[in-house]
Symmetry: C2
Subunit: 376 residues, 2 copies
Amino acid sequence: MFFELQHTAPGGAARAGRLSTEHGVVETPVFMPVGTAATVKGVLHRDLADDAGARIVLANTYHLYLRPGVRVLEEAGGVHRFCGWERAVLTDSGGFQVFSLADCRKITEEGCRFASHIDGSSHMFTPESVIDTQRSIGADIMMAFDECPPGTADREYATRSLELTHRWLDRCWEQYERTEPKYGYRQSLFPIVQGVVYPDLRERSAEYVSHFPADGYAIGGLAVGEPAEDMYSMIEVVNAVLPGDKPRYLMGVGTPANILEAIERGVDMFDCVMPTRNGRNGMLFTTQGVINIRNERWATDFTPLDPAPVSFVDTAYSKAYLRHLAISGEMLAAQIASLHNVAFYTWLTGEARRHILDDTFAQWKPLILEKITRRL
Amino acid sequence: MFFELQHTAPGGAARAGRLSTEHGVVETPVFMPVGTAATVKGVLHRDLADDAGARIVLANTYHLYLRPGVRVLEEAGGVHRFCGWERAVLTDSGGFQVFSLADCRKITEEGCRFASHIDGSSHMFTPESVIDTQRSIGADIMMAFDECPPGTADREYATRSLELTHRWLDRCWEQYERTEPKYGYRQSLFPIVQGVVYPDLRERSAEYVSHFPADGYAIGGLAVGEPAEDMYSMIEVVNAVLPGDKPRYLMGVGTPANILEAIERGVDMFDCVMPTRNGRNGMLFTTQGVINIRNERWATDFTPLDPAPVSFVDTAYSKAYLRHLAISGEMLAAQIASLHNVAFYTWLTGEARRHILDDTFAQWKPLILEKITRRL
């Protein structure tokens, strides 16, 4: 994988770049739609690629390990061939899921024992095993195994957790170097910076991970309950340390505002379930502001979903029709809203990129932010 | 609306025709996907038109009357503009739904009082009101209001019900003639033949409806619990009476086998929820036979969904991937299976049409039937 830093905003940290994978080029800043179980919920791959313009999607090691399982993925020849997605894939290591989804857990030095949220069966993830599993999945970008403490964790817990995450990173990297890709194309491994909201811990973690000659670095453990301002200041602390010539991925973030603030602070890659999850609940992020499509006020609004369309659905369907579908519990509502929202997120990061390259990001950001965060 | 009978199979009753509506030409035999609430569940309109090739969809007066309601549909300028579907629409009169879905009911000479399945609110449908509602919906083809007795109804009930349906038809027709389309294009009204499985009642009903100068005629009250052979013989009885130069619509039918048998007996139009409902449950109708995609045997079958593709999803996705989605409860499974199945039904009726025009229907039918009804 090769990252070319193309441009940095004058007097700022916002960056535009190009990430070349063996499954295509990804222009940054980029939003990666979340395809937990190798499906971005409610969106056909063709529409994800051709309409929403997604160049890379995220899948979850935890979910794919449980279903369909490593054997099926290996027989398929990796996740791309399994699900029919020819562009890039990044896999989360499963750390976040075993701590949040799996109902039992026991964290030891060795790793984490957890109970499947599907059938309660007992499994163990270790730094080595999650690398092996990610080799079997065959993502272009793999993530290190980390513990992800809550945003309210005290300093003592945060320090212990960080040290464990660093020791796990050592083991992940060793396993990464000991093993080969299974499907003939390169797989990168991104270390993850932790440290809750403690600037010194974040700095220490950023320094630690920077010693690994990785193709990119991730910032984890943010947007997990801490105030947004703390998140932004942690990003600043971390990005002051991380190598400037490598992509930086802010995990699981966030709202359109979060993303623009993070781009301004030098983040290149994002993922978040909001476009699809909120879409399923009837929330639309549009170029004119935020819409709760279930509101009575849209009942006879026959105007397009978004007058500045980011997806073909925006002009194909009206607000009144989408409201009718949502109120009637029709699955088409979730499909339309999910595709629109994913397209909106890719549009937003694409626009940010364009303005960075034009040296107009600083002027554009407050204007677009005011516009798209309005409640309609 | 104009129907041109293009060809009838030599020595048989199978027919090919062209139905011209103000929302496009519909070649027959035709399958009309069911869009109950003005959405074919799980399928984007673009894919329904361009991929599955649907030329006409069915919507339900009962559902649209309750949600979004007549006022919204009128403000939108009719159902086509409301839902963004530019091709033809047929609306069922709501008779079947008030008897099957609405939990309370009282049938009188006047009409039917029912409780909404959504909120229990009380409503009255009369022959006049369903014509008015269908005028507001703006379907290209409207259906008469009928009582639909079960397939096991005794002769006495069947006779009384039939006579009521005929008196209701008189009132529907009067209301139809008294009223005008609201959106500037012609709306046809199809009478419905009833009579359960009693040949003399079916014949009497077919004669009765034939006196109305309608653009087409429907056969109702079949596939409601009677043996398939009874259904086929009722179709023969009815089609021997109905005018040969008008389209014949067999309501709510059915399996691929039912449809081919009915085409052979001179039916031109079909609708059924099977492609979408069974699709949501993991059943695929393919050119090679019927698949229950949830079966373990597909877990590592990475071949296309259908080797003779009827939809773009057939080669975009493998059986193993679709099984994974279905087992994981992912909505994409329902989307893929629904689109495929609807495309299969339109493909099947399109193939039947082609073989009728080629004078090869009689030879083709048993071969394709054997092939597509296999359990894989």
